[in-house]
Amino acid sequence: LLRAPAPAVIATVFLINLRHVLYSAALAPHVRRVPAWQNALIGAELTDETFAIAAGHLRGNRQARAPWLFGLNVTAQATWVAATALGTLVGHALPDTQALGLDFALASMFAALLMMQVAGRPHARVAVAVAAIGALVAVGAALVVPSSWAVILAALFAATAGALLEGRRLAAPRRGLP
């Protein structure tokens, strides 16, 4: 790390973090009633996991309460720090964490949050299509570019497809209505 020039290191860190622009933008319509300085603190603690849980909580046009978001962020960070400390102290006593399947907890959590997102939507079929496109682009693109960029590409492609599909449905004349 120290041998790489500083601009190259900073540029790499930036590209790894770029997907949080999308997370932050997607949460913005839900925090209109929260003061700007609190929004800044809430944004500073965004992670993949806290965004996923917040987005699940804020479906539709729901407005977030600042204490709920701070509680989410502080709980996530405190759990991270406490679990890291615990692992450092007593981790060697655990035989084989892989055998316990604990490494699969994150994927399972994403599965549950995705299911809740898709199920709770007015345009459920559009949401299913968006999920399928997002999954395909994320895996396909990750074979060529770093996986964090692949998430950005997947989000851009799939959300655009979703907005276009929903727009077309809204524009289409409804049969059976006068």
Binding site: L2, A6, I10, F14, N17, L22, Y23, S24, A25, A26, A28, P29, V31, A40, I42, G43, A44, D48, F51, A55, A99, L100, G101, L102, D103, F104, L106, A107, S108, M109, F110, A111, A112, L114, M115, M116, Q117, V118, A119, R121, V126, A127, V130, A131, A132, I133, G134, A135, A138, V139, A142, L143, S147, V151, A154, A155, A159, T160, G162, E166
Partner: protein, 110 residues
């Protein structure tokens, strides 16, 4: 020696900035303005797209490389997890079933 330390300081400050600004700026700015309906609709699909992307990468690319069963047990363990998620919509039930399925598969395949 001073040069190296200055470079390290720049890396820390710069990395900090490019970590915080992408997280804070959109949330702080876009929450203050009325978004055009098309953009709001687009942003509404970002969570679904991102969750599907993260899940697909976690399942299809274990350790960062594409793999199929039996070298990728996650691709099998995710099926009961998705079934429980669809039925119960419960976060904790889904995680418990997913982790248990993974442990059971590793026990069987080993």
């Amino acid at each position: 020696v001073t040069d190296v330390r200055a470079a390290v300081l720049w890396v820390i400050v710069g990395s900090g900035l490019v970590t915080v600004v992408p997280r804070v700026a959109p949330l702080a700015l876009l929450s203050r303005v009325a978004l055009p309906p098309a953009l709001a609709r687009w942003l509404g699909y970002v969570p679904v797209a991102v969750l599907a992307a993260l899940l697909a990468q976690a399942v299809a690319l274990p350790g960062g490389h594409p793999a199929l069963p039996p070298h990728n047990l996650g691709a099998l363990a995710i099926l009961p997890a998705l079934a429980v998620a669809a039925r119960t919509r419960s976060l904790i039930a889904t995680v418990v079933v997913g982790v248990a399925a993974m442990a059971a598969l590793r026990l069987l395949v080993r």
